[in-house]
Symmetry: C2
Subunit: 200 residues, 2 copies
């Protein structure tokens, strides 16, 4: 926005533009939209940002985002804690929960291996996953990373660490379109991929 | 987001989804992104929302958004206050300023006539425009609303109010693609439209 614009609006537009998938034009439009909201709504939005950052942390077991020390899925004794589905990000947990067919638990890696971008194994929550396995009681680990180069590489890397520990390691079936994004798969495709998982 | 998600994240995603052009899937992605930002950045974002709403108001002359009582364009004595370019929204002022070819001033209507949606003349800043004309010194009013049904209707309505006051009223040339949006026009097209404006 040019310098004739009010500075607080320019700053707000820059904040929106710093979010992924929002360009400067959309950001400007969003900033103007905020001006048309009533003050209480704007304050509620600002508070929601602060609350989410302050009150949400990683579950100490599965590393998914939660308000509690242990997330509702890990603390649900109806779920099979012997099966761990390993995913890249919290949004992937949401995708699996939508299938309503998976009754195991999860482990969120918070990223995929990508040495070119400096994402080495110590940057992911792999240590925490190994800790869960060595704690015993885990029969199977399902590698449910995206079917991309990084997703496959991460699945293979983690599988190679886990197999010596005597745990069954499987990979989602490639019912998913290769190169596609897990979170956009429909429920049926995702369930099929879960059902036809293959031993690594 | 399903109920296994942390509540503050669900609330934040709903806030994002309430913005124009952001669906629930993008909103969820943005909420997760906020979790990956450091706390200072999140606080700065929240503060930017509050500051924009609190410190930005309408210029008492042209009704554009500004931090001051009178905006920088209206208080700039290098600008020709005898020519007023009437636009729908503050983003259109930004579009004209980008051409660097217009040296007059603006008047922001904050909407277009749309009786079906309850937007009648009293909902727009038309009264303020008439006040400026009757104050004297205005030679020409350029109706620069979008070339859409509502934009044309508003231009005609305002022109019919202004012509009896003895002021020249013109309309942007239709170099703009009909049905398109002014804010997405490139600088050259917008400048041509300004140059070839026609008397109403």
């Amino acid at each position: 926005m040019a310098d004739h614009n009010a500075l607080p609006l320019v700053i707000l537009a820059e904040k929106f533009a710093s979010l992924p998938g929002i360009g400067m034009k959309s950001a400007q439009r969003l900033a103007y939209h905020v001006m048309s909201m009533d003050e209480a709504s704007v304050r509620a939005f600002a508070q929601a940002l602060i609350d989410a950052k302050k009150n949400v942390r990683c579950c100490k077991i599965c590393q998914n985002l939660t308000e509690r020390e242990v997330c509702p899925i890990c603390s649900d004794d109806q779920r099979d804690s012997g099966t761990i589905c390993v995913v890249e990000a919290p949004k992937d947990v949401t995708a699996f929960e939508r299938t309503r067919e998976y009754n195991g638990v999860y482990h969120v890696l918070h990223g995929l291996l990508s040495p070119m971008d400096g994402i080495t194994p110590d940057k992911l929550r792999i240590r925490e996953l190994l800790g869960r396995i060595s704690g015993g009681g885990v029969r199977e680990v399902i590698m449910a990373t995206n079917p991309t180069v990084e997703g496959d590489a991460t699945a293979m890397y983690v599988a190679n660490l886990l197999k010596p520990l005597g745990v069954k390691v499987s990979r989602l079936a490639f019912g998913l379109p290769v190169g596609g994004m897990l979170e956009y798969a429909d429920e049926v495709t995702l369930f099929k991929a879960l059902e036809n998982r293959n031993l690594l």
